[in-house]
Amino acid sequence: MNNRVNELDVASATSSVKLARRQSEPAFPKKRKKRNGIYWLQMSPALILLLLMTIAPAIFLITKSLTNDSLLSSNSNFVGTQNYHAILTDSSLLHSARVTTIFVILVVLIEMMAGLFFAQFLHQKTKANSVAGALLIIPFAVAPAVSAMVFRELLNPNYGWINYFMGLLGLPDQIDWLGNSFTAWVALIGLDVWQWTPFVTLILIAGMSALPAEPLEAASVDGANAWQIFRHISFRLLAPFIGIALVLRTIQAFKTFDSFLILTGGGPGDSTSPINLEIYRVALQSFRVGFASAMAIILLVVISILTPLLLRILSRATQNENV
């Protein structure tokens, strides 16, 4: 049971070895310079590819966002910040930003809580739980485009299974799920929760099986009840894993696209149309590149404000558990 402590010792020992190495290095300044060159050479393909897919598009979009470019006409005029003005005063775009925000907050909250709940029951190493572990990976493996399509069929008011089973349970069974905005939201969130809660659960199970037993035993000897143990001990020790799952799911939830397009198509009306879908439509269906670029830049700015925060949580978590 001292495993964890030993691991930490080893970790700090290796990092101090690394530190010692780094400090002793200046003895061979020339050699180090040469080696740094090799490192940059090794890095270069990856850096080029990543710059090409992130920084270069961002620069391109900034220049485009100041124009009224469209793929349908060859006119290109500099319009200054006009696009940004239009976006920030357009209520339907603010609405789609709201859709994205609400979606991210709701699914992440629900998935974290449900994941914690299920992990409590499934973390002991029994045969049944290892079968459950295998089943839990299934939703992750299903292509989101496929699961969205299957959900759409299951929710079909005429021959979908969901209404049928609700009827069996004596619940309302004539619901036109995707026909009104509240139930469409329920469907979207249900799909995401179905797809990702099991994955969150797997992360937390991995965390729980790495927990040391002593603090828990000590607490129960001291007469703490189950809730107190969970609240004050398990939860604290699990924090890095909760952090990882939280960051991962937040990032992925921001990127969600498939289920919106396939399941609800943003509808009814634009009630479930997130910013990703709006950008896609403006850019690749109306071909208003200038306008779409400005939207994309605004999204990028918002994400880069969030990124350092998420990174800090992630790096703290990976350092605690990994090193």
Binding site: A46, V146, M149, F151, Y159
Partner: protein
């Protein structure tokens, strides 16, 4: 589990009973739908066999590209003497947050200009790039765990840098390379957004292609389910076998 059960049972049903309500639980399974689907149905821009072939080509090429680029980078980033390693590692991690939709507009315009829309590279290169952060981190965290003594011993024995990497480090990194390859393949295979935006018919992949099945075959749920099962089956089997690696990989090696 219900969506899975629905998909599999429907794929084995005849079209006349596929939509019966209440669902028919006892029926003679028929593989007719799979036959129809795999030999390629008509009425689509591409037959399903071609869609699958496209998916396989794009997935394999993007994964190979990704590993080739990621491995040397991970080597450099796991060297304690590399001065910028901390900064570069966290920058690479931060690119994981870059929203794909933002990259798609320039890629679409640029690929249109060089007549590259609807080709394999226009999908494979962005996939490789967007999977890079995860794969680099998986490789980096596993290479960092290889004890320094092994490298020192190898050098004492007269191995040069290249020898050490190819004969000693590479074999030790095989499990991490496998994890990276599996994750990158799954993510490319399951992608929808890039394939939707950047392909029309020639290079269209399966997840996008089957969306047409609904429109064209308003009622043919059998074929659609058979196609869906065919798409998810390989990922499902691999995921169940290596699920610990998948969880560990997707969390950037933070979960063991």
């Amino acid at each position: 589990m219900m969506p899975i059960v629905f998909m599999i049972t429907t794929s084995l049903k005849d079209s006349d009973i596929a939509r019966q309500m209440p669902p028919k639980w006892i029926f003679t399974p028929k593989f007719q739908n799979y036959m129809t689907v795999l030999v390629g149905g008509e009425g689509h821009s591409q037959g399903f066999d071609r869609l699958m072939l496209n998916s396989i080509i794009v997935t394999l090429s993007s994964t190979i590209l990704c590993l080739l680029v990621a491995f040397p980078a991970a080597l450099a980033l796991s060297e304690a003497t590399f001065r910028k390693r901390e900064f570069l590692s966290s920058w690479i991690l931060s690119t994981y947050m870059f929203p794909p939709i933002v990259a798609i507009i320039p890629i679409f315009i640029f690929a249109g200009k060089i007549q590259a829309l609807d080709t394999y590279p226009v999908l494979a290169i962005p996939y490789a790039a967007f999977n890079l952060p995860i794969v680099i981190w998986i490789l980096k965290s596993s290479i960092e765990q290889i004890p320094k003594e092994i490298e020192e011993a190898a050098r004492v024995d007269g191995a040069n840098g290249w020898h050490y990497v190819s004969k000693i480090l590479l074999p030790l990194a095989v499990p991490a390379l496998a994890t990276g390859a599996i994750l990158s393949s799954i993510l490319s295979w399951n992608d929808f957004l890039f394939a939707l935006a950047l392909t029309r018919s020639v290079a269209k992949t399966a997840p996008v292609g089957i969306q047409e099945f609904t429109g064209m075959y308003g009622t043919d749920w059998g074929s659609l389910s058979a196609a869906s099962v065919t798409i998810i089956a390989p990922v499902l089997i691999i995921s169940i076998i290596v699920r610990k690696r998948i969880v560990s990989g997707l969390t950037f090696g933070a979960v063991k």
